[in-house]
Subunit: 155 residues, 2 copies
């Protein structure tokens, strides 16, 4: 399945409000993100750290001149699995009114191709246990739910 | 619980054979790692990539002049959760004959303190669903198994 007119590019500072709005427009994100302009300062600081790290790629997906989605790709070197370089995908969102049209699938095709181009032999992600639709989506792409993902908040 | 005589330091190239032997001495690692000297070349390449990335810390734990354990800490900037900086822990191993003596707990205390010192507000890890002992260990440390961890091999 291909989706016409999608463009994948590195996020710029001026995209930040749109990206945060996408992250917030989600049952879990709504509890965690502050999408108003006053709340953007911590996101600006985080964006600067992402920009400074050559192993991070914050991606925006454009369609017809608007931001249709976002994801973050991290390249992680490590010794495990024969020194496998890993691609890790986080913070995937597609604009609510554009869901179900294949943009998520196209975003993963793009991200996996980026991982291959960087020399990764493994792609990994975690997803909240409550996101049943996401589980079916990832399994349809060939991902295997082999692991549990543990989090510890330091707040 | 404190364990006397533990030292945590950044791994050096000459530690590599010992670290890979630790990774291999494990029911899952035994199928995935090549601990013989001829097999070390891909690990050397991966080690160079870890060394080159200031957001990676490959740690060895020394006790009484030997390598008692290892873990890798990755610092991941991101926009989610209010721009939370995350610490990610991977490839945790304690030498087989030293398990059960509190070294794993001390290693996590150290790693979590490192995460705090770097400004992380979240610590995350994934662990194979078959590692029931590890699950109890992480839950005892306050980690919550809120996520599923998906992997896709690109081999």
């Amino acid at each position: 399945m291909t989706v016409p007119g999608l463009q994948f590019r590195r996020a710029r500072a001026e995209d930040l409000a749109d990206i945060v709005a996408l992250l917030a427009d989600d049952p879990l994100g709504a509890q965690r993100e502050q999408a108003d302009v006053q709340g953007l300062a911590p996101y600006r600081a985080a964006f600067a750290q992402i920009e400074a790290d050559p192993n991070q790629f914050l991606c925006v997906i454009e369609q017809a001149g608007r931001i249709a989605g976002t994801l973050q790709l991290s390249i992680l070197p490590g010794l495990s699995r024969g020194g496998a370089l890993r691609g890790q995908i986080e913070a995937v969102r597609v604009a609510r009114d554009l869901r179900g049209a294949g943009i998520g699938r196209a975003a993963f095709d793009w991200a996996i191709a980026q991982c291959r181009a960087r020399g990764c032999t493994l792609v990994q992600l975690t997803t909240d246990r409550s996101r049943a639709d996401a589980h079916r989506f990832y399994e349809g792409l060939g991902f295997e739910a082999s692991h549990l993902g543990y989090k510890l908040s330091l707040d």
